[in-house]
Amino acid sequence: MASLPGVGKKTALRLVLHLLKREEEEVDRFSRAFTKLKSEIKACDTCHNLSDHPTCEICSNPGRNQQTVCVVEGIRELMAIEATDQYRGSYHVLGGVISPMDGVGPSDLTIEGLLDRVRKGEVNEVIFAMSTTMEGETTAFYLYKKLASFDVQVTAIARGVAVGDELQYADEITLARSIQQRLPYENTTKKG
């Protein structure tokens, strides 16, 4: 138990003692769920989202725009965007960002898969939604160069002052960027 992230020795002990107190059947169900977790949940063939089918629910949903692809680093980022309930397109999960320091190069990510999707002409817009770290930006730049030869629109999510923040407390780098990349006012009042 203590090998799990965020779980220390004391928490592990508490969890184990708790499981011992439960009914045998309940614990059985619990452990079956764990086994299934590994054997049944795979990555979607298209976007590498988690799925128990070869194609995930988002990629196979006819109600979603499959021509728009939002590129994210990982599953958690995908879930964060899904939670907003504002995006009706599809995704592409990279599985990380390029960082030679951590031994991650382009071939360790699902970049070829994304290019394949674009090559097949299935995509007309690619949205970059990587973190604003140097590695996230560099990965976006790499993809941008790779996508340049295709007839596809490349966009990036807006960045700037957080909604509901008071300007005086915004950090200087974010604020500087917001000023540099300001928008026509009518674009800022658009919803959804």
Binding site: I98, S99, P100, M101, G103, G105, P106, M134, E135, T138, T139, F141, Y142, K145, K146, E172, I173, A176
Partner: protein, 376 residues
């Protein structure tokens, strides 16, 4: 900006001490190991939230004690601010201004600036280029807000690129596109850093030359030069030209991380051609020029901390220096010396408002005016 008072508890060799300062000149006199420099370092703490000499906070706690405290009252913009710095073993450093804790220490640094001159400054001449880049970067980041951020990003991109070069060589592969994305970052950031450093050196030189002439009485001709590969070619061209070499050596061989400052005396390197006294004079002038720069950038006169600066320079220069620093241009001064009356006598001659403190085994005594009279 005036430091009115300072009190220490368990800081290095001080069990307890409290001092009331003169707004002009404060001399700390005592033998080796008495604790003169410790007072300067405590003032440095109030400016930079850390020690100049020992970066590990807990090592500045008095032997066998569990905590230290430094408190000061600083007059700035006609208001007295109370600064409080406390370090307890095993706990986060506490730094408060007017009883309010800072969220980030970075918010404090720069508000109450100080410039320190110590014998360690000789490293600027003797050591490698890194020390001199740090000197430049330290001053530039005080007035150029994005500079430090970009510098850190540059170093990160550099390290990423070097890792990639090492990876290529270890796995006998090469991928131009993977390398180019880091080149792109280095070009953008490196060019920014180059421009900032160039502009800095250009504005720094006249002030430095002027101050040096005053201290040395114009006895020697000195100069300062920014040495950089970017002077002849742009960052993009440099990286392209060095690509084969970079791949062989598995690291990035050109860019602003190779920059240097050349310290010259009569057009020769002062490291090799300057005497010890000339080197010291050069360093003093550098720090004083830094002072004027910081003052311009922050709008307040920093506290000037002079540690043992009389070693190796002749009496004429000492006198010129003392005249210079007491000339109100340099605000409040804190100065240490081992010999009892050399500095006090000089300042008395100049007529500066002076306080002399006798430092002895971790205790500080204000020297009585009566004693002053006897010396004359």
């Amino acid at each position: 900006m005036i430091l009115q008072s300072l009190s220490l508890v368990n800081f290095r060799n001080y069990e307890e001490a409290s001092l009331e300062f003169s707004p002009e000149v404060n001399c700390l006199v005592g033998d080796n190991g008495a604790g003169k420099t410790t007072i300067l370092d405590a003032i440095y703490y109030l400016s930079f939230c850390k020690s100049y000499f020992n970066a590990i906070d807990s090592q500045n706690i008095r032997y066998d004690q569990g905590f230290f405290l430094i408190q000061g009252a600083i007059l700035k913009n006609e208001e007295t601010d109370k600064l409080h710095c406390g370090v307890k073993t095993g706990q986060k450093k506490q730094f408060r201004r007017n009883d309010k804790e800072y969220g980030r220490l970075a918010d404090h640094i720069g508000k109450y600036p100080s410039v320190i001159l110590t014998p360690n400054d000789i490293d600027l001449i003797k050591e490698g280029s890194e020390v001199r880049r740090k000197f430049m970067d330290g001053i530039i980041s005080q007035y150029n807000k994005p500079y430090l951020e970009k510098l850190m990003e540059y170093n990160r991109a550099l390290s990423q690129r070097n890792n990639l070069l090492r990876y290529f060589s270890e796995n006998r592969t090469f991928d131009e596109e993977s390398l180019e994305i880091w080149d792109e970052k280095l070009i953008e950031l490196g060019s920014f850093i180059y421009e900032a450093r160039k502009a800095f050196v250009e504005t720094f030189i006249p002030g430095f030359n002027g101050l040096h002439a005053e201290v040395a009485g114009g006895a020697e001709q000195v100069s300062l030069a920014y040495e950089t590969q970017l002077d002849t070619k742009g960052m993009a061209e440099l990286l392209k030209g060095a690509r084969t070499k970079d791949r062989q050596l598995r690291r990035t061989t050109c860019g602003v991380h190779k920059d240097d400052l050349n310290f010259l005396i009569s057009d020769h390197a002062i490291r090799r051609f300057g005497s010890q006294g000339q080197q010291k004079t050069y360093l003093i002038s550098l720090r004083l020029a830094q002072f004027e720069f910081v003052e311009k950038a922050t709008g307040v006169k920093p506290m000037l901390l002079l540690d043992d600066i009389f070693d190796k320079i002749d009496d004429k220069r000492v006198a010129a220096l003392m005249r210079l620093v007491s000339d109100h241009r340099f605000g409040q001064i804190f100065i240490t010396d081992t010999s009892g009356d050399r500095i006090p006598a000089l300042f008395r001659e100049i007529g500066a408002d002076l306080k002399v403190f006798n430092v002895e085994q971790g205790s500080v005594q204000l020297q009585e005016e009566v004693a002053d009279g006897q010396e004359k």
